[in-house]
Amino acid sequence: MVHLTRRYMFSASHRLHNPRLADGENSQIYGKCNNPGGHGHNYFLEVTVAGPIDPLTGMVVNLAELDGYVQSAILTPFDQTSLNGQPIFAKLVPTSENLCIEIHRILQEGWKELPSGKKARLQSVRLEETISNFFEYSGDAQ
């Protein structure tokens, strides 16, 4: 069993605001992240895959296949967008905690349809919001 990690980047904006809270509470909880105009980050996403090494190819996962999947499932939909405008964040505050879990959920949904996904599993998703803040999620079962 080997873990392979691939690192990707996308840029997006967000505003941390919960409409169920009063304006004063939002301001108190989220501070400058509650600024109505929003703000943006260059998010670095690390996707870790775990599986046996295929004896024929020497690989855990075909990288071109993984890159294509992450591109179409995550990077294309999220890059250069406002996260608050995404359907998944219609009722969910787009913190990086929630974004990390949503990315894991989206990747897991189509995983079994990947040719490499039959042998290798999605191990974890790690999301860097800044060089000082990062979040990691391995699914509920782990």
Binding site: V2, R7, L56, T57, G58, M59
Partner: protein
């Protein structure tokens, strides 16, 4: 129990080719990595050992011993080499980053008498790395 990680960097060339596959299959699976003239990387290796802190020295491992093992078992063998032809196990095994990490584990684990090997992490590029925890995986 404490973990200590030492980094080392080596540069090597390789190409991906499996003799069990046809030339067309090799090109399809490995893409530009199948170029027989090879290409190279600056690999960054992180070796993590685990053990108890020696109460007299305050250390989990003598860094000089660990550095010498890495120099002898990894750097002397992999650095500035063409992996497919100059490292014996890769005459018959594709020198992917996955297989390199396993090979490094097998070379250094038996040499560590004073502490246990926990993880071998090998970066092929800053955007791609592999972790190996030995044959029985630890989380």
């Amino acid at each position: 129990m404490i973990y200590l990680t030492r980094k080392a960097e080596f540069s090597a060339s390789h190409y991906y080719h499996s003799p069990e596959l046809s030339p067309e299959e090799n090109r399809r699976i490995f893409g530009k990595c199948n170029n027989p003239l090879g290409h190279g990387h600056n690999y960054v290796l992180e070796v993590t050992v685990q053990g108890e802190i020696d109460p007299r020295s305050g250390m989990v491992v003598d860094l000089k011993d660990l550095k010498e093992i890495l120099a002898r078992e990894v750097m002397d063998i992999f650095d500035h080499r063409f992996l497919n032809e100059e490292v014996p196990e890769f005459r018959t095994r594709v020198p992917t980053t996955e297989n390199l990490a396993v090979s490094i584990w097998r070379r250094i684990a038996p040499k560590l008498s004073f502490c246990a090997l926990h993880r071998v992490r090998l970066y092929e590029t800053p955007d791609l790395f592999v972790d190996y925890f030995g044959s029985t995986e630890k989380q």
